[in-house]
Symmetry: C2
Subunit: 392 residues, 2 copies
């Protein structure tokens, strides 16, 4: 079992805090933005009136599944039947199950690097090999031509797994890119597992184009989704898996039955969240654009630092002038303080399969309000100047 690249420095952060240091967390996608009031009120009301928190159906509450279809997916142009959606224990369970449905031990799944590091965790746990298509920070993580996919596909390849918008790079796949990926999956009869948990966080004029809307790929697409990011309910641990493929949904149910049911109180929060007004999303999006612009400007103003402008999610990857980003991240927690504070980021070497590809890069989650984000990035800038392993 590999350690979490994102969370393995948590004990160092805890030690820093225990010694009185303030730690700015840019390391994890845990936004500080309020959950919708309607979500929390719904849970509170349920807890006042119910006298028992029992199991739900392994698929989740019917009310949540139909609510997601009617109040959310229909509005964004994704058509689903109740039999085509199942509630999962957050996006984490959803993609873990999707990977296990798509691939057996010894099979291969194509990912686009840098990729969300837990894809690798669940690949390792299940004996699945990830094959990576490289994208380069210098080119803003632009997707390679489909020729690159043709080079890595083998008879063992069972799926392509993408995150769109992408954690960790902030890359947003265009409709054209999605259609090209769809053609490739159709040609080789591969599943396309599309992790769209950051769908609400797109910073272009084009609407997000879901894999569920690739014509002719209906039987191949497995959608992974979550309320964690959309409604700032990371702790509710509620997500879903959706597919038009009946065999996929039947397999998902078997996995679901093995863990009995998704968390009930979180399901209530998700039901309540379905009534979140549009203004909530508009405000959140404006806030993230301000944070992104602040982060990108400050990062690129640091000598030797390069961070491309992300078009989605709330992450960017920054190339740093350091010998080793992991050592740097560790050193920031153990050795560097500015006015009694330090900044925690995530080294991204483990988000790549290509050796040394991300050795000098960190992921920055711009999940703090602009004034706090400025402080955190100022500390990062000063840390870079003081770091013994700096390369400029």
């Amino acid at each position: 079992m590999p350690a979490s690249a994102i969370r393995k420095f948590v004990p160092l952060a805890d030690a820093a805090k225990a010694s009185g240091t303030k730690v700015y967390h840019l390391n994890v996608g845990a936004p500080d933005i309020k959950s919708p009031r309607c979500a929390l009120d719904y849970v509170a009301d349920k807890c006042r009136t119910l006298d028992h928190i029992s199991y739900t159906n392994s698929l989740g509450f019917a009310e949540l599944r139909t609510g997601l279809i009617e109040k959310y997916y229909r509005k964004i142009g994704i058509d689903l039947e109740p039999s085509e959606i199942m509630v999962e224990v957050a996006g984490s369970e959803a993609f873990a199950v999707a990977m296990q449905i798509a691939a057996d031990k010894g099979d291969e799944i194509i990912v686009i690097e840098p990729y969300y590091t837990n894809y690798n965790t669940f690949a390792v746990l299940n004996g699945i090999t990830l094959k990576a298509i490289h994208t380069d920070i210098k080119e803003g993580f632009k997707l390679s031509s489909i020729d690159e996919f043709e080079k890595v596909v083998t008879p063992k390849t069972k799926a392509v797994l993408i995150s769109n918008p992408c954690n960790p790079s902030g890359k947003l796949f265009s409709k054209e890119e999605m259609l090209a990926l769809g053609e490739f999956c159709k040609k080789h009869d591969l599943f396309l597992i599309s992790d769209e948990v950051y769908r609400e966080f797109c910073y272009t004029d084009e609407p997000h184009f879901s894999a569920m809307n690739i014509p002719g790929l209906e039987q191949n697409v497995i959608l992974v989704d979550s309320v964690s990011k959309r409604y700032n309910l990371c702790g509710a641990r509620i997500g879903c898996i959706a597919s038009h493929n009946k065999d996929v949904m039947a397999a998902a149910l078997k996995f679901g039955q093995s863990r009995l049911c998704p968390p009930v109180l979180g399901q209530y929060a998700a039901i309540g969240a379905l009534d979140t007004p549009q203004e909530y999303f508009d405000e959140v999006k404006a806030e993230y654009i301000a944070r992104r612009d602040c982060a990108i400007e400050m990062l690129n103003a640091m000598p030797g630092v390069f961070a491309p402008t992300p078009l989605g999610a709330f992450y960017t990857i920054a190339e740093l002038p350091v010998d080793d980003a992991e050592s740097f991240c560790r050193w920031m927690l153990t050795d560097f303080r500015l006015d009694g504070a330090t900044t925690m980021t995530t080294p991204v070497a483990s988000f790549y399969r290509t050796p040394d590809a991300g050795k000098h890069q960190v992921r920055i989650a711009y999940v703090l309000e602009v004034p706090e984000l400025r402080k955190a990035l100022t500390i990062l800038a000063e840390g870079l100047k003081a770091y013994p392993g700096r390369t400029i």
Copy 2:
């Protein structure tokens, strides 16, 4: 991925309900007993005052971990440090993780049959082989001598996995049996994974003897626990894993980090539940004894039926005079009605590894109030008379 033996007939039950049939659920351990008011109130208060449900530490809230130690485990004579306990997504995640920590693919774990069927699910998923020690319904599922364990242990054996009190048999392991099991585990240096989620449901004068209190086995025991049954909070999906073995806890944390954190609202319910007064448990226990006595009396009064008296949990296994218990359970849902109602039970063949061992047996969860339980069992009795595959 094997289908759930307990839940695979849910679609048939749903179909029966859709056609207007009342279904008495004796098939699943989902009690009708109220959750403690303090648990639900705690969640409601948190949801009124918080404005954000964010991730917790992957270990769970420190307040919950120390609360479990100080307000629960210490009272029942189990000594734990905060570093020795981690919050899990219910007992389901706890034993799945414990099995993966103890055994690699190709390794073996010894279970006592009949065993909780999901142990097999997670064994299959992880390439672990279960070796079963048989216990017989005719002998009240009395544990075989340790010689039986010596016969199945091999160099690949890594653990013994027990549920105490046992789901599905209601078997309660005595202190003497636990010490003997402990000797065996020590001799072969095996983990002892002790699933004690039904600890509060013991119907003897002796206190429950936890595997955590086997002298000299401190480094081998992995405790699996849950709030689901203890506080009738099945839907909260909160449990824990505990061990004095630092390597076990370090491995558990890696698994925990891969799913980010346990459900936060459920953690609040668990924190609130720690203040449940003793009278709650006393009342619940008295209620279960009444239900058990009712169930055992009615079952054994049915011609050809035998059900031993369980000393723990809220299950019993009944031997039925039918050709095949799975066919019978299915037939009850599809064909048999008494005054517009039917009764759902769980066939237990898949709770055994020995071929045909449980072919004529069902698990009865006595989770309904006595008047309802009487109705459900009356339907079962009439169903047995009418079933075409009856053998007497």
